[in-house]
Symmetry: C2
Subunit: 341 residues, 2 copies
């Protein structure tokens, strides 16, 4: 066991969005490492929070249903924590264009709420923010490093960039230690499958599992990189345990980029079900698409020793196995109709 | 008269923050060019709005007191406008660190309010946003071009960056034509002199006019560039009249950089009053200072034909002449005590 993992033994940690996809996988790891985990989640129905996500650890964590938009609630909950993993967010790009104020409230204003809570009630805490590669927009060159311009293509990206910057400014000006992980496409167990508004990978996984047709927009040649959730969790654990991350933003990308079409073919092969066809881009999605993207993660490698380790084929197998075992907890029996992505 | 100036004859234009420093100078120019000017200003007492700023054109513009945070008001006011010059903002960096939510509401959320108003009520309008060089933060290299990273050092810079990005995304996704001017330090007539919370240059001007001592933080060797307000106004006029600006952000910088100490010496020489001394940095201001900064404005030169034309000595002379003639309208008789910057 390396030192950054020992760091968490008996340590009080808070996870915002802790019933969501990455937050709950992080909670599972932290429980294994002996941390005292407080989960805060709003359980807004359309979002990713799912009580089943803590199945197996429900008696070893505390769950506090709350909205990070509530200043007084956050003022109380941050107290006594050593590390805050700040993963609560609105993650739908399409929703951000239809309801920009909601996205602003959650992804932008609420980050100030959390940081103000820390500044006034727990200034010695360490905060790790779940950022996103979406803030880069359409890349000028590949792979994308942290010195690439931040040029978001949608409201969600703008607000996530602001949320990240608040963390870095509170680190630099107020000494609330904070860092940000700019996650590329994360996949794995405990992701939301019940609708298609939170990105394509989980939706593809659901369609393949249901032996349905996946629609790939365009010719399917766009390149993306994918991170298995356990690898993403490892990046959070390393960032939370090290002051070398303070005031920094890090790319957290995948092992190797893959084309959408090859990804879907690999999914179908791994699952033994599903099929696909290519279809023209819907205009609203094309307008905020970013083309090819893959990240250079060498900065977090050099600073925190992180690198992705899970091959896509292995990660997808574990993902399908998980959802096959627990499908009803992720797709309600009444079942939404299969929508195109 | 060049075509971008003829463009404004009889044209309905709205200026948010139109009683403020740059907005009112823009209003004077637009009236001269024959535009039909609607000024919207909140007249929040601590901000830059000042009814005297439209002295001489008060019967040739319409003034509507309103807060751009009000969605229904903005929905109405944007209708029928051909161009919106969007200059309303909270401009104090220090205030943004003490009251981050206010800065967020005005500089971030209100920009969505204006853009949503346009998207739903006047999608054919053209919007020019008053951005700021503050979003770059501490420069990696000089002069700073638009391809420099956006890395704000304070909450104001973060929110101004988000506000700018909303404009560019609404241009790209919703077709609400918009562009942003990243202004460096603008100076000239009609700037707020009544307190020192909106940046140093107007405050220095006041102290010199009052024959008082200017305090320069540090050794006064930091480089900055300065734009005379008429030059800044010319950039707005060009951007508003040209579709070549759509979806773009442009630096609007000064003729040549100058050190703080030399600037103050030039002020004292030009005004024939005042004195200065160097003093250590207060920690709260040092924490958000950005060191040397000057902008490369070649992009707006190539795209819109803009360049600064006013020498600092000439601009300062005109500025001092203006305030000498109208001092009581900018510094209340009860007079705040001279505070250090």
């Amino acid at each position: 066991m390396t030192s950054y993992r020992e760091f968490y033994r008996d340590r009080p940690v808070l996870i915002t969005g802790g019933l969501g996809f990455i937050g709950s996988n992080l909670a599972h790891q932290l429980v294994t490492l002996g941390a005292r985990v407080l989960i805060v989640d709003s359980l807004i129905p359309a979002y990713g929070g799912n009580l089943f996500n803590i199945h197996g650890i429900e008696n070893r964590v505390r769950v506090n249903v709350a909205d990070i938009r509530q200043q007084t609630t956050m003022n109380y909950l941050v107290q006594g924590q050593d590390v805050i993993f700040n993963l609560a967010g609105q993650v739908s790009h399409i929703d951000s264009m239809e309801e920009p104020y909601t996205d602003l409230e959650i992804n932008c204003r609420s980050q100030l709420t959390l940081l103000e809570a820390c500044r006034h009630n727990n200034p010695a805490v360490k905060v790790v923010f779940a950022g996103t590669r979406q803030i880069y927009g359409r890349p000028d060159s590949l792979p994308v490093t942290e010195s690439h311009l931040v040029r978001p293509t949608d409201v969600n990206g703008i607000n996530k960039a602001a949320g990240e910057n608040y963390h870095l400014v509170y680190n630099n000006v107020f000494g609330v230690r904070a860092s940000s992980l700019r996650l590329t496409n994360v996949y794995g167990p405990r992701q939301l499958l019940k609708h298609s508004r939170q990105g394509f990978i989980a939706w593809f996984i659901r369609l393949v599992l249901e032996d349905k047709e996946v629609q790939i927009f365009g010719d399917g040649t766009q390149l993306r990189d994918f991170v298995y959730v356990d690898d993403a969790v490892d990046a959070f654990l390393r960032a939370g345990a090290s002051d070398a991350s303070n005031g920094e933003a890090f790319n957290v990308g995948g092992l190797e980029p893959i084309r959408h079409r090859e990804l879907v073919e690999l999914m179908i092969r791994t699952a033994g079900s599903g099929r696909f066809r290519c279809t023209p881009w819907p205009p609203d999605k094309k307008a905020i698409d970013i083309g090819d993207f893959y990240a250079d993660s060498s900065k977090i490698g050099a600073t925190l020793g992180w690198k992705p380790t899970t091959l896509l084929a292995d990660g997808l197998k574990r993902t399908f196995d998980f959802y096959r075992a627990h499908f009803a907890h992720y797709v309600p029996a009444t079942g939404e109709q299969v929508a195109s992505l």
